[in-house]
Symmetry: C2
Subunit: 229 residues, 2 copies
């Protein structure tokens, strides 16, 4: 950690690469524990709303309940947290709101969020305006047991996976110049936090494909391999 | 066109931005008409193979036939043409093979293909190794009327759409610095050629979602809204 701090002494900000120009940078006023605490509180609050809604649906399985909570939490993160980044990307380095400070903390693992990197910005735009609402459609599909559920689940999971794979790969290919070289930032923020959106979407996409395959196979068997309608 | 040529006189290559370093650049030996002719020949050859295969499937509708040809042609472009770029990106500016010269011609509309731009390279990697084979799965699904057809069609169409939207948006956001400023390159190569992969995948994704929704709705009605299996 000391080597990291020494390397950034010459820079007016703590981000990598140290040559990155962030003239409007303002240091965070909240410490790490406060930021993680507030973020966890937001996630728990959405989770509690989801859990309350689920009290009205006793017929749903444990897996369906967990998936419903996943989509509500994931949709809120996409729409509000990542949407906040997209809307405020140009001024984020000097932003002292809670979300601004959270993004500045996360950016220690990826400074592309503070430099309006075109790929990160546009990928996040797609995530906020497409993935976010589609997560809510998937959640609605589970809650109301609508036929839309597994279609929305498969599509949004693939979109999350695609965005995340490109997100990882684009900076790794360049040798991760945007990450503060400390294991905490690389492995926890950049590695682990984003890996959640590799593992869960992959599982959910496969689950939906299996469900849809069986549904179509049954309909085709009923119709003697003719069209559905 | 004259202004464009004048602007590139000082550069050792015809690409934009003119500051782009391409020390291994070698000019094409084939002229535009030859390149477009050879590329069209490749597309027509794949289309003819598809049309020959379709003679064995008289029961398929005109739309199913067109979609089958689309997926075979699209899959071949992803796997072989875009795959060629991914495999040879580092040496492409000096590549004099047919595919190399085709990419150098196309790169007049987007020099990111010659500079190993991390987003373009990784997006094309996903396109070649995921979209390409999945196009063939969708084509197989149509040919054999397998339940996998609309699942593969929806997923690969969404992936094509996602990649293409990011492809357009990332350079447009930067003010299109990678495109030779001549209407032919911007509107025909960059604009029109890629717009095909916006229009067709959007239509096919919507078609598949409609089909899958109806299939699941029928199965749910049969089961009284219980699980498929």
């Amino acid at each position: 950690m000391e080597a990291v701090l020494n390397a950034t002494v010459a820079s007016a900000h703590p981000y990598f690469p140290i040559s990155l120009a962030l003239p409007h940078y303002a240091a965070n006023t909240l410490v790490l524990g406060e930021l993680l605490g507030y973020f966890s509180l937001c996630v728990v609050a959405v989770g509690l709303v989801a859990a309350f809604l689920l009290t009205q649906r006793p017929q749903l399985s444990a897996l369906e309940r967990a998936t419903f909570i996943w989509f509500l939490v994931s949709g809120c993160i996409h729409l509000f947290f990542e949407g906040y980044f997209v809307y405020n990307h140009a001024t984020l380095a000097g932003d002292s709101s809670l979300f601004g400070q959270l993004w500045k903390e996360y950016s220690l693992s990826d400074s592309r969020y503070l430099s309006s990197d075109s790929f990160v910005l546009l990928m996040e735009l797609v995530t906020a305006v497409f993935d976010g609402p589609l997560c809510f459609v998937a959640a609605y599909g589970i809650y109301s047991q609508s036929p839309v559920r597994h279609i929305a689940q498969a599509l949004v999971s693939l979109a999350q996976l695609y965005g995340d794979v490109l997100y990882y790969a684009t900076t790794l290919f360049e040798g991760s110049p945007h990450c503060t070289p400390h294991p905490y930032y690389f492995w926890f923020y950049f590695g682990f936090m984003n890996f959640i959106w590799i593992i869960v979407p992959t599982s959910l996409c496969l689950q939906s494909c299996t469900y849809l395959y069986r549904a179509v196979a049954r309909v085709q068997a009923l119709d003697g391999r003719k069209k559905v309608q």
